[in-house]
Amino acid sequence: MNVTIIWQIAGIAILVIVIHAVLKSAGRDEFAWLTVLAGLSVVLYLAVRTVSDLFQTVRTLFQF
């Protein structure tokens, strides 16, 4: 059971929230939006790796 990935995602989310708030208050709305997009991409990359791991396990176990 790999809890580190949960902490990683939570940390990225907190980082994104803070940078988004700072940039938004500085009046740089477009950069704030880009920050959200970048954070989402990184989190999605982690998620896809985990889910593909799960799919591979199921596939080998049930002999697809």
């Binding site: 059971m1 790999n2 809890v3 990935i5 949960i6 995602i9 939570a10 990225i12 989310a13 994104v16 929230i17 959200v36 954070g39 989402l40 989190v43 999605l44 982690l46 998620a47 985990t50 889910v51 791991d53 799960l54 799919f55 396990t57 199921v58 596939r59 176990l61 049930f62 002999q63 697809f64």
Partner: protein
């Protein structure tokens, strides 16, 4: 080793983080929920290998064809993955998409089950033919 405690602890941690994240960044919360569900399944699914081994043993003893058992295992795998995908979609508020995933899973299971149904039908027809002939 065979302990539910890590699973429950992991789920509690994930739930707390999700509850914090959901109002602030719902899209990251959805992905986090997906990852947490996948990790829980990943921790448990290798245990199913023992059950699969038991099923194979029983099939060998009972003289059941290996391809029938393979179809059965395939159906179970499709059911697990379908359930996972449908729950993930429903978790993100896309209930309709989840229902479609379930429908696709049902159709694929039916397609795999066709040879089994045909075998049962064949057996029944043979028995009926024997009854009439005898």
């Amino acid at each position: 080793m065979t302990s539910i405690v890590p699973v429950v602890g992991f789920a509690l941690v994930a739930t707390i983080v999700l509850a914090l994240l959901r109002p602030l960044r719902p899209e990251i919360a959805v992905i986090l929920g997906l990852v947490a569900g996948a990790l829980i399944l990943l921790a448990v699914i290798p245990r199913i290998a023992q059950i699969v081994a038991l099923l194979e043993d029983m099939a060998n003893k009972g003289g059941v064809g290996a391809d029938y058992l393979a179809a059965l295992l395939k159906i179970v795998g499709i059911a697990y993955l379908t359930e996972f995908g449908a729950q993930a979609a429903r978790d993100a508020g896309e209930g309709a998409l989840g229902s479609k995933v379930e429908l696709a899973g049902k159709i694929l299971i039916l397609v795999i089950a066709i040879p089994l149904v045909l075998a049962v039908l064949d057996l029944i027809l043979r028995l009926v033919g024997q009854g009439v002939g005898g």
